[in-house]
Symmetry: C2
DNA sequence: AACATTCATGATCTGTAGATCATTATCATG
DNA sequence: CATGATAATGATCTACAGATCATGAATGTT
């Protein structure tokens, strides 16, 4: 289950999906991540911004990680020239 | 080339690498991303937290995107992040 | 419908990210 | 080395994220 993310909203969606896949409530995820339920709700619904630290706390609690990669569409530079 | 990221520091590293691969200065990246050079410096050096909105601004300017995926097996914490 | 659980929202308060300007340090290169 | 370019740091100020508590809405279960 790989999720592409180009906006904060994408992150929120992915987190909600992962949480539900693990059958966790926001409160349970709050407990194991240290992030408050109210904050999780806002992140999942893309209300305001969020700090990456908070995102990483949630991803860790959901056993997820992030990969940074060249965009697959509309690339300015060929992949070979990157890195 | 795909960069794994489990901490804000990983993000900073990836951004710096991508910026240099594109032969951009922090100031140039600042111009095309709307993020200030001083802020980019702090992000690349992992000074304090950062908002995901800012990260996405930089990734977009670098033609990068994020993928969220289950944690792969292997080192949870890279050597240089211990202590 | 009633009840319990889960999620969303609203207010206040504290901490801090980012903008902005100025300055200092570092790196490159002639 | 000297000089110019690039990057880091520091101060101030504004905006807003997140903690916290309370409550309201939604969802589910019997």
């Amino acid at each position: 289950m790989k999720q592409l993310a180009r906006t904060p909203k994408d992150i929120g969606h992915a987190i909600r999906q992962a949480r539900k896949a693990l059958k966790l409530t926001q409160k349970e995820l709050a407990n194991r991540s240290g992030v408050w339920q109210e904050t999780i709700s806002k992140i999942e619904n893309d209300v305001g911004g969020t700090k990456i630290d908070t995102i990483f706390d949630l991803l860790a609690a959901l056993d997820l990680e992030i990969q940074i990669q060249p965009r697959t569409k509309g690339m300015a530079i060929p992949m070979d020239e990157l890195f």
